[in-house]
């Protein structure tokens, strides 16, 4: 048979035409969690998909300047993509950008909060398994983009993510004795016990009632309404501190984006 060699650039024949079986493909809606360089010009992309949880895919040639994949496969991008099932890692063949969150990317503080969300999802999301985290992540990113107080969005996101992962702090009933904490003396909070402790089961760090009320609101209210919550600086600081302790205790790893947020705040002072 006469024809160009199969590696030639003008070889546009489909795999079927060449008698090869095409790789089975599937489409996914996803948010890009992180990327890593792979080989000479490829990129390994960790996607958080709506239907299959975390999926790793290879974007071939994504580090070349002319790559059509590179722009849309940046962390934070909300995309629709086609993957081809391969032996080890699936290959990302097409990408369509749904939302790139330019207002979040263009603000160092907001992009750090967004990174915090991606980092948490990356830690708790199971591979190849759907969950209810996808709408939460998208919702959180859209709230950041809409200019809602990033601190409140972050706390609500953390509470809900912890709950989805099975580590949600008990807020209405005492984490030790199980009785409702309403009107039961001085409350405290203990990550190790799993939430609020009533006055009789004292043990953790002191928790003020206004902080508890704010936490309950952030955990239970409609995500779109959380910007309405009025919290003073002191309560805000305490919420952040105890949720951070709870996250670090249950996820058992340092949270890098939060550490960077601290660096940014030190710079502002």
């Amino acid at each position: 048979m006469i024809g160009p060699p199969s590696c030639a650039p003008w070889d546009t024949a489909t795999p079927e035409a060449k008698g090869e079986t095409p790789l089975p493909t599937y489409n996914q809606e996803a948010v890009v969690l992180r990327t890593r360089d792979l080989g000479e010009a490829d990129r390994l992309v960790t996607l958080f998909t709506r239907e299959r949880g975390k999926v790793n895919g290879v974007a071939r040639g994504a580090r070349r300047a002319a790559s059509r994949l590179a722009g849309s496969l940046q962390p934070l991008s909300h995309i629709r993509c086609q993957l081809a099932r391969a032996r080890t890692l699936d290959i990302i063949t097409q990408v369509e950008l749904i939302e790139s969150f330019p207002s979040v990317r263009g603000d160092l503080t907001l992009v750090t909060y967004a990174n915090h969300f991606l980092e948490l999802v990356d830690v708790v999301a199971p591979e190849r398994e759907a969950g209810d985290l996808f709408p939460l992540l998208l919702g959180g990113l859209h709230l950041l983009a809409a200019g809602v107080d990033p601190g409140l969005v972050s706390r609500a996101f953390e509470l809900r993510l912890l709950a989805a992962a099975g580590f949600g702090p008990a807020l209405r009933d005492c984490a030790r004795c199980g009785r409702p904490v309403e009107e039961r003396g001085d409350l405290s909070f203990s990550p190790g016990e799993g939430g609020v402790l009533c006055g009789e089961c004292d043990g953790g760090a002191l928790l003020r009632r206004s902080v508890l009320a704010a936490l309950i609101y952030l955990q239970e209210a409609d995500l779109r309404q959380i910007g309405r919550l009025a919290v003073d600086e002191r309560d805000r600081g305490e919420m952040e501190g105890l949720l951070r302790a709870h996250l670090t205790y249950h996820l058992d790893r340092p949270l890098r984006s939060l550490a960077f947020l601290d660096t940014l705040r030190r710079g502002e002072r």
Partner: protein
């Protein structure tokens, strides 16, 4: 030898084997000069005390060249980026190599890259513009914004490389992000 060669980026066991057999077939003098070049480069290369670029002399030739402007510093991620900008022959200022970008997810903070060195240079007062030429990636942009936060209060102009369509490219095949950036950054004709 094959094992040592496999440690190079982009070299798999087969390529390593090919390279090894090639080297074995070469005259001993050629192999010796290659080995010496590798060793010499590694031993004599260090970071320039001014711009942090890799160099054999300190300060590096670019920093000690008196013909180069002192009022602009182009900040890049890696030494290879200096070569890339130099190839354009459009920039006549000086450079600063960060040796990395801020990446909270990878645990790389501002203190892990050569930012303190940049601020010290700016403190000398000859620089009037900092051109941030980090990659147009999430980390590169975050680093650029962080640098702007630090440098602007010093009264120094901070600019960022434009991003848009590649020269000789095809509009139809441009990706959405690049094309929308190109639209935002359009200029008057």
């Amino acid at each position: 030898m094959i094992q040592e060669l496999t440690r190079l980026p982009g070299v798999g066991p087969k390529t390593a084997q090919r390279l090894a057999f090639f080297l074995l077939a070469q005259p001993i003098a050629d192999v010796q000069s290659l080995a010496e070049a590798l060793l010499r480069a590694r031993q004599n290369t260090r970071q320039c005390g001014v711009c942090c670029n890799l160099t054999e002399e300190d300060p590096c030739p670019l920093c000690s060249d008196s013909r180069r402007d002192r009022d602009a510093i182009c900040v890049v991620e890696r030494p290879a980026d200096v070569q890339a900008v130099e190839r354009t022959r459009d920039f006549h200022g000086r450079y600063h190599v960060l040796h990395g970008v801020i990446s909270p997810l990878e645990g790389v903070g501002p203190e892990d890259i050569r930012l303190a060195e940049l601020l010290r240079r700016l403190g000398e007062g000859t620089c009037r513009e900092v051109i941030v030429a980090t990659n147009p990636s999430v980390e590169g942009e975050a680093t650029a914004m962080y640098i702007a936060r630090l440098v602007k209060p010093l009264g120094i102009r901070v600019t960022r490389l434009a991003s848009g369509l590649p020269a000789g490219g095809d509009l139809e095949y441009a990706d959405q992000v690049t094309l929308s950036r190109a639209l935002q950054g359009r200029r008057e004709l």
